[in-house]
Symmetry: C2
Subunit: 748 residues, 2 copies
């Protein structure tokens, strides 16, 4: 009732206010209306339905869900369709992992059901222990424990005098993306890889285990993809092109993202038996998990026998796409997506985000039926096959690349959601927009705006005695209400990747978490409706909050007349990244010099315990000074151009005549793509964005200024100098575009 009164009042003002003010009021009104249409109980019912059976790619229920979502979209007034692709997707046929020898032992590889939980009542079978795109095989070999199985772990193994050549490695989850574990193991000569979830990371060490608490039970497994994301995501057989029915496909043997050695995930109940059977050096302190054993590295004496066989046929995947055509600028698109496929039931991952997206779609449909229409076109996407490696979104962006390059203002993503604090990563020219939205959406637990709560969280975290410098820097900003709180850079791991990494289309990923999260059941059979409702988001208030937050972002981008980007935020971020990269080069140089002195003085030998085997570290080599001047000049110029643009927009933007406005829009609509030239990153040209990329050796986590930063990390000095120049040129093109936009604004 109260809302109606307000709407009438707004109606009166509408006709008299000037452009910008009208704009703002119309948004406020629409947002209020939108919020009243988000009902947690509806999200709950949708999740219960969608999570009632396993939803992995190729499962009957994944298709049932796609059709259900399609029918909802249509029912809610969207122009909706399914876009289908035909992708290579391996389904497990048989698998085993055994301890050979005097006390044989067989890993379980299935998660027992839990009474009172969907896992016990579903009739469709769950996928067994499995990682997609591992390399089928049958190997028997000594076991070696490799900690997280990341690059630095192999340096440590070298110092310990332990090789994985011909061995099966056991890695624990964490420390970097899972797919790097078998990939690096293979590159170091291993013949198989097993990955387990240590209770230290998401088991009993963290909290009670499901069903007593939220954490991973002893027989819980983490499935996932190990397709080589560092090269490209999506269908392994159709890089760069859509996997249509008759697409030209790579031969299976030529697909570079499929791994070469058999790999399986196991539970910690099983892992304990294999790890306890290892001898050799005691694992270094940072390698020790929370199992009640002494962690040894091996190799052996335990022998493992690992066997995996899959069905490598093509499978159909169904993206559900809903469209509402814009009233004023239909050729400008706001794209919003969340995947619908899961590893098993997928209540938290991805359905918590999916039901938020559904709530938004329903509310927007209702607004539409009430006569409202967005100025720009809104596209809602419910992706299939995200889990095996972002296939649904990647094939779709490859199919619509030309349109997206011309029309996409922003891609807004969500995925798993939880209870607690706002978490945003994305393109930094959208940081101010995120702050504006977050300043108005109210946190259900505290009654203050989510921005205010996040600022409090950052400041309190920075007050902890062991807070990182990154957190402390963030807290300085968060404590100043005049400044926008910082958003994080995007890496990979969800459907934003092909938009920002490949096309250069700006993207934002949004979620809530830290108080209630699903890491304890991540990619397991226990990520169920019951678990989500009990431990992740009781009452579905944060899934509803995600709908409000994402919905406001969509409405703002769809309806604002003026470009929503703020260039100075981007310039500040890039300046930070350049400082980090320069510091990294200096630190590498210092480190190499220090190591050279240590090697010369035989310090490693003298400091080693002669009763333990220990190898010398590989010499780091000389670290040259790098050609940073062009990049420094580009960043300086970016700052000047960004300040000029932001000031001009603030001063002149509100009374811009239509032709100028459209010229300004067209300049800013595609400005981020200047940062993603055709050349791409060294050795992985699918990744074109020179500001943001997932790290080749982190998998999901972002590397900023990746062409330069990763070259320094890997000591590829020519690449470092070359990409410093190439990145500088891209930044200059961004500044060129800004200068043109400023000129439009400042023209008499």
């Amino acid at each position: 009732m109260r809302l109606l009164v307000l709407l009438t009042a707004f109606g009166l003002l509408w006709t008299t206010a000037t452009g910008a003010a009208t704009n703002a009021l119309r948004e406020t009104e629409v947002e209020h209306k939108f919020d009243t249409m988000i009902h947690p109980s509806e999200l709950r019912d949708w999740m219960k339905l969608l999570a009632s059976e396993p939803n992995h790619v190729g499962s009957p229920h994944d298709r049932v869900n796609a059709n259900q979502i399609l029918s909802w979209f249509k029912q809610w007034g969207w122009d909706a369709r399914i876009e289908r692709y035909w992708v290579l997707y391996p389904t497990p046929l048989s698998e085993s992992f055994e301890l050979a020898g005097t006390k044989p032992f067989k890993a379980t590889l299935q998660e027992p059901p839990i009474p009172g939980d969907t896992s016990a009542t579903a009739t469709e079978p769950a996928l067994p222990a499995y990682v997609a795109y591992q390399g089928d095989g049958d190997v028997t070999a000594p076991l070696v424990y490799v900690n997280y199985g990341m690059k630095d772990d192999y340096k440590t193994l070298q110092r310990l005098g332990v090789s994985v050549k011909g061995a099966i490695v056991i890695a624990r989850y964490g420390g970097g993306w899972r797919g790097l574990k078998p990939k690096l193991a293979y590159q170091h000569g291993a013949v198989g890889c097993v990955i387990y979830s240590d209770p230290n990371n998401d088991g009993y060490a963290v909290d009670r285990t499901y069903p007593a608490g939220p954490m991973r039970p002893p027989r819980g497994l983490q499935r996932g993809s190990v397709s080589d994301i560092s090269l490209y995501p999506g269908d392994p057989l159709t890089p760069g092109i859509p996997a249509t029915r008759n697409a030209r496909r790579l031969k299976f043997s030529a697909a570079p993202t499929i791994l070469k050695i058999p790999t399986l995930p196991i539970s910690y109940a099983d892992a304990q038996v294999f790890l306890a059977a290892l001898g050799g050096p005691v694992a270094p302190q940072s390698w020790r998990g929370s199992l009640p054993i002494t962690y040894h590295v091996g190799p052996g004496p335990a022998l493992g026998h690992l066997k995996v066989k899959s069905d490598w046929s093509l499978r159909e995947i169904d993206d559900v796409i809903g469209v509402i055509r814009g009233s004023t600028w239909p050729e400008q698109w706001v794209v919003r997506g969340n995947h619908h496929d899961a590893w098993v039931f997928g209540a938290s991952d991805p359905l918590s985000g999916q039901v938020a997206l559904l709530a938004e779609a329903k509310a927007i449909g209702t607004l539409l039926k009430g006569g409202w229409r967005p100025k720009r076109t809104i596209i809602y996407a419910s992706w299939d096959a995200e889990e095996p490696m972002l296939l649904g979104s990647t094939e779709w962006t490859e199919a619509h690349a030309a349109d997206l390059r011309k029309k996409a203002v922003l891609y807004l993503n969500s995925d798993s959601n939880g209870r607690g604090f706002l978490q945003v990563a994305g393109s930094h020219d959208f940081q101010h927009l995120v702050n504006q939205v977050a300043a108005k959406v109210i946190d259900p637990e505290t009654g203050v705006p989510i921005a205010q709560r996040l600022r409090a969280h950052i400041r309190v975290a920075a007050f902890e005695p062991d807070a990182s410098e990154h957190i402390k820097e963030g807290a300085k900003v968060a404590a100043d209400p005049e400044r926008d709180f910082p958003i994080e850079p995007l890496g990979s791991g969800s459907d934003f990747s092909s938009f920002i990494d490949h096309l250069g289309v700006p993207a934002i990923d949004v979620s809530f978490g830290e108080e209630g999260d699903s890491r304890g059941v991540y990619h397991s059979r226990y990520d169920t409706f019951e678990h989500h409702s009990r431990f992740v988001d009781p009452g579905f208030v944060y899934d509803a909050l995600l709908a409000k937050t994402a919905g406001h972002l969509v409405l703002q981008v769809a309806d604002q007349d003026l470009p929503v980007q703020r260039a100075s935020d981007f310039a500040d971020a890039v300046e930070d990244y350049l400082e980090q990269v320069e510091k990294l080069a200096d630190e590498e140089r210092d480190r190499a010099e220090t190591q050279s002195g240590l090697l010369q003085d035989r310090a490693f030998q003298l400091a080693a315990d002669p009763t333990k085997s220990s190898g010398l570290p590989s010499p780091l080599g000389r670290v040259p000074h790098l050609e940073f001047a062009a990049l420094e000049n580009a960043v300086d110029r970016l700052h000047r151009s960004a300040t000029a643009y932001d000031q001009a927009l603030a001063k002149k933007g509100s009374d811009l005549p239509a032709p100028k406005l459209e010229r300004l829009q067209s300049l800013m609509l595609t400005i981020d793509q200047t940062l993603a030239p055709e050349i791409g990153l060294p050795g992985r040209p699918w990744y074109k964005n020179l500001i943001y990329a997932p790290g080749a050796f982190t998998g999901y986590d972002a590397k900023t200024l990746p062409g330069v930063r990763e070259a320094i990390e890997d000591h590829r000095w020519n690449d470092a100098n070359r990409y410093a120049r190439i990145t500088a040129e891209a930044i200059d093109r961004y500044s060129d575009r800004l200068d043109q936009a400023t000129a439009v604004l400042n023209a008499k």
Copy 2:
């Protein structure tokens, strides 16, 4: 044979060289001879004998050992005697710790013997689980897990909304000295305290457990003292005076160092049962150990029943004292000590150090028989009753305080020893002497001087990515062969305390370790001859190395004509400490201001999870600027005086006529005592040294400039300003003394 040739060559030179050179050659010759008399097999045999039965205070074998050592001293030519004291020493009569309720459980409180080990063959009984000077009692109360039970842990408990009032706390060993755990528990209202050894600190998480490896087995216990060391060590009934038979004693009820609540140590096998029975909040991440459970804080629901009863009679303790009178300056004393009492067999603690001391005593005795005699008097002390709280050494220094203040040049301590790297803490004016000795003693594993190996160790440790700033600073010094490697400041925890802390007599503590150590059996029944020979120092080469290192230090101090102190090293150390203290004050101020902003903005409330109980932190209050000028001026002056002294000594020292030399000696002999004026530290006047003290809230670990530093830590601003002035005055007196010494050197 080769040595004899060298000795002859030296003999030739002897008669022709000038004073300083002669001095140096004589030392080298004596040191060579000394080294040839150190036989690892002899140390092995002595340890086997001394560690064959339990050696706790009051046990028959402790007295047998004292008499054995006395007879060896005499046999080796020392003027030896036993000095006896009568001290309060509680012996356990009965004890129990039980889990009350539906599933009752009784803690074991005894360590089962291990076949093939002294623990299985000894005929005398071992002390059960016990901590000396706890407060007898019988209590039943809910259990609360308090992590390490240190000050900060109680702040965390407050944030968690958990009180220990009326509860029995369970603390894990580590994080600070054991006696602080029951003391702080009592101060916060707890009625009992149980301390257990988490496998994360010294059990299976670190390495295999005894007898398969060196670490603490599931039923291993850590005994120890909980007498309130922060007030004074030694007999609780005779503070400041010797505990002679008829000494004037405090009443038992007035003895402030005896704790008020019953306390017991338990094993981790037992602790797991009690900890698993706790509910309440999940323990914060840094509180989690390596038991395979979710650590909860409580309180309860588990109820504990704790009962301890002791025999509080006086016991006789026997210090064995051996003396060799100096030939030139008999009224100048070098004191060298190591205790002989243990908690059970005490192979590593203390007998590994004791057998080194015995080897030195035998070698010095042999030198004596060969016609050599030290210029200064050498006193070797085998202390009793160190374990209950440094009783033997404390009563002895209190008995001989007047003599020690006049005559003691240095007290050199050792205790547990292990395999690996040199570890030295002590008075910094002796840092250069330590470096000179360490540059000549050869490490048996690498064949290089122990100083060179230590430098390599520090540099390699600093090269680790997570190295602390302290290590990195140390590495800069260690990498420069022109600079002396740094020694650490002394706190407490062994027999040096009454020398340096109470009398101001300079002290050095020396040991080897890090490759082989006894922490896994520390104060347990498994600290046996077999454990020490297998895991701590196989072949007894490092115990022999300790004898060489300590022996050379003794010989140098006993025989050098010129004072061995180097004042600049002390000045550098004090300057560092002042910088730390000033930084601490600034950080406290920043922290208080930050917290005030957080409280004002309700940030703690907004950042808290409303589903969990959480309290606000106590306001830190305003931190004033402190009066550091006098201290800064004193340190500046100290630098000038120290440089002048060191230069004058280097230039003029070698040709000093006898009267001047003796005047110089007498000035420098007692110079360190200027730093320990009568006033003592605030609230604990037994501790007089204003540069070094054990922390009131660390127990063993050193606090430098303690009057100022601890006042800042505790926000006692008047004390901080007052002790900045008092400490400045003490440093000025040290500088005065240096200036007088410089004047003697520079006089025509």
